[in-house]
Amino acid sequence: MKRYSFAFKIITSILLLYSVLYGLLVDVPALPILNETIRNLFYHVPVWFAMMFMAAVGMFNAVRFLMKKELKYFDNTHAASLMVIFFSIPGLLTGMLWARFTWGTWWTFQEPKLNGVAISILIYCVYFLLTYGIPDLKQTAVVGSAYNIFSFVMMMIFIMVMPRLTSSLHPGNGGNPAFGSYDLDNRMRTVFYPAVLGWIGLSYWLYDLLKKYLWIQKNFSGKQRVY
C-alpha cells in the first residue's frame, strides 16, 4: 500500500514536470488571435479538470455517506469541497488572463461558461455556509452531503450543459468546434493528456493531505468540530 502511494506521487510529479516543461517546447498549430496562447491549454484546462474531479469525489462520498451514515465519508466530502474552492481560484484567474488577451476583456457576461462557473463557485460557497451554520453535527453531515450532491449536479449543468445549449466562445460549446476536431492536433495531445492526469493526481494528493490534517484536527485538537 505504502509503495503504491509512493509510486503514485512519483508518477504525478513526473507527469506534472513533463507537461509544464514540454508544454512550452512542443510545436503548436499557428492560429490567428490565439497565437502562442494556445499553450494555455496545457495549464488552464487541467486545473478545471482537477476541480471537476474533486467535485466528483465529493459527490461520490456524499452519496456513500447518505447510504451508510458513517461520518468518515462526510469528512471526505468536506475535504473535497475545500479542494474544489482551492482549484477554482487559479482556474478563474488564468481564464480571465487568457480571455483578456484573446477575447479582449477580463470578463464577459455574454459567455455562459464564465457565468456558470461563477454561479457554481457561489453554490459551493453556500455549501460551506450551510455546514458551518448548523449546530448539530449529525444534521450538518446529512444536510451538507445532500446539498453537495445538488451542488455537483448544478455545477455540471452550469459548466457542461448550459454552454452547449446557447452560444459560447469556449471551444466545443454552442456550435464552436471542440478541441478534438482541429484545434487539438496530435502533437498537443501528447502534452494535454499527461497534463490532465498530472493535475488530477496532484489534486488527489493534496486532498489526501487535507483529509489527514482535518482528521487530526478533529480528533486531537480538542476542537468540538471542524465543519
Binding site: L17, L24, P29, P32, W205, L209, I216
Partner: protein, 80 residues
C-alpha cells in the same frame, strides 16, 4: 513536415480564409524568441521552481503521514 513549412502552409490557408481581413491573416508565433535558443534557460528556471515545490510537497507529505500514523496508533490504544 518541419515547423517552418507547416507555418508557411498554415499562413497560406489562413490568408485564403481571411483575405478580406488582413489583420487576422497572420498568426504570429514566438519564432524569433525561440530561435535565440535561450528559451531553455526559462525551462531550467521553471524546472528548478517546480522541483523545489514538489520536493517540499514530498517533505510535507512525509511529516503529515507520520503524525497521522502516530495519532492513529494513539487512538487505537485508547485515546477516546
Amino acid at each position: 513536415m518541419d515547423s517552418k513549412e507547416f507555418f508557411r502552409k498554415a499562413a497560406g490557408v489562413l490568408i485564403l480564409l481571411f483575405w478580406a481581413d488582413s489583420a487576422l491573416a497572420q498568426a504570429e508565433m514566438a519564432d524569433a524568441f525561440r530561435s535565440e535558443g535561450k528559451i531553455y534557460v526559462v525551462l531550467a528556471v521553471i524546472a528548478v521552481v517546480w522541483i523545489c515545490l514538489l520536493v517540499f510537497l514530498f517533505y510535507l507529505d512525509k511529516k503529515i503521514n507520520r503524525i497521522y500514523g502516530e495519532c492513529k496508533t494513539k487512538m487505537q490504544s485508547g485515546h477516546e
